[in-house]
């Protein structure tokens, strides 16, 4: 919904998974971790992934808040999906999401006021995180409550994993600390650019590069193995 990129990537997870051996419940949960990871594969929710990952603490709080909103909205949307007319479904989803974000905002303000202040407008901006609306439209609006919650939990954890990776890389390189604990001693010269905005772009670019490289390598290996099998079969015959 949030731009052309998301339109192109919103196909995942609509129907029951086909051609996979894992039972549907496990598949609903696990697909968000890697195969349909919202950030890495679907390229959704890039704004928070880049904006608040300058320290591990910020990333974790943002990840948990998004997880809470995603699971809550998926549960409620799935619960009311038969009562909502098709024409106003997007508006309904947005109102539900905004309500959960308001709740999350109040909780964070009460529990972790310092981090809440650092996150600033980005807590409120969870409303327009395309991962959340994308899951409502692609999954929770069409599937029963149990599956929708599992799907949301999986996607939420997938998002948290990415936030954790980005946050750790940027904090270790940019401040030489992890969760505020100094790693390299006082002689470490921090790579300040990594905690500043350009570092976010660069880190995500390198993570995506690593994923592309890994995919290409596995594809090549699969092809080579197939060629070997064919060769062996040809020789046997």
């Amino acid at each position: 919904m949030n731009g052309m990129v998301s339109h192109a990537h919103m196909h995942g997870g609509g129907g029951p998974p086909t051609g996979r051996k894992a039972p549907p419940a496990r598949e609903d949960l696990l697909k968000g971790f890697w195969r349909e990871n919202p950030v890495l594969i679907q390229l959704l929710g890039l704004c928070p992934t880049l904006a608040v990952t300058n320290s591990v603490a910020n990333s974790v709080v943002m990840g948990i808040a998004t997880f809470f909103v995603l699971v809550g909205s998926s549960f409620l949307v799935s619960l009311v999906r038969r009562r909502v007319p098709n024409e106003v479904r997007i508006a309904t989803y947005i109102v539900i999401i905004a309500t959960f974000v308001t709740v999350a905002e109040m909780i964070l303000q009460a529990l972790v006021p310092v981090i809440y202040k650092q996150l600033g407008a980005f807590v409120a901006l969870i409303v327009v995180n395309c991962i959340i609306l994308g899951r409502q439209e692609a999954f929770a609006g069409k599937n029963p409550v149990g599956r929708s919650v599992l799907d949301a939990v999986g996607m939420g954890i997938g998002f948290m994993i990415m936030m954790l990776i980005m946050g750790s890389v940027r904090e270790v390189l940019g401040s030489g600390t992890l969760l505020g604990v100094s790693l390299f001693g006082p002689r470490f010269e921090p790579w300040v650019i990594m905690v500043l905005p350009p570092g976010g772009f660069f880190t995500l670019a390198f993570v995506l590069l690593a994923v592309a490289w890994w995919k290409e390598r596995t594809a090549k290996q699969a092809k080579a193995a197939e060629a070997r099998d064919l060769d062996a079969a040809g020789r046997a015959a």
């Binding site: 990129v5 704004c47 308001t102 905002e105 409120a124 327009v128 905005p197 772009f201 490289w213």
Partner: protein
Amino acid sequence: MGDLGWIFFSSMVVNNFTFMLFLGLCPFLGVSGKIDTALRMGAADIFVLVMTAVAVWVLNTFVLTQTPYLRLIAFIIVIASLVQIVEMVIKKLSPALFRALGIYLPLITTNCAVLALAIFQTTREYTFVQGVVFAVGSGAGLSLALVLMASIRESIELVDIPAVCRGTALVLMIAGSLSLAFMGFAGLLSSS
């Protein structure tokens, strides 16, 4: 006047929405392939942001004075419906303008830049004029980012890039370099 000038300049380059605050990245990655599309998207951006600034000012001044906790819900609904109405009006009154901006308007509605503008405007307690100037500046900043990116992408279209790097990773690296360049403006603000 100096104050308004600073709001404009700061929102356009020093705190550029795309490069410094990571707002509106989806359209930035999606439609920054051609300069022509980038320009239209930028124009639509400015248009929606100004409309939002006006709507948010009205909401904050007359409607939400007693219920600040309803802000988020109110903002998103009002912005979305407003853009829909404007889209219909433009379609009726000026088909040419609709063809130029048309498909981009609904895309921008749920863009994080729009909601962020509403939130910044509220927390910084801008007046009506300041809000509109801030909106124009932010929109100009988004357009600047889009056009810069589109120009770079157009000129590297025929370059032989390793297959692994093609696509989003390359765009993000270019964006990172541009972001580095924009950090140079950061010093301007503290000297004001």
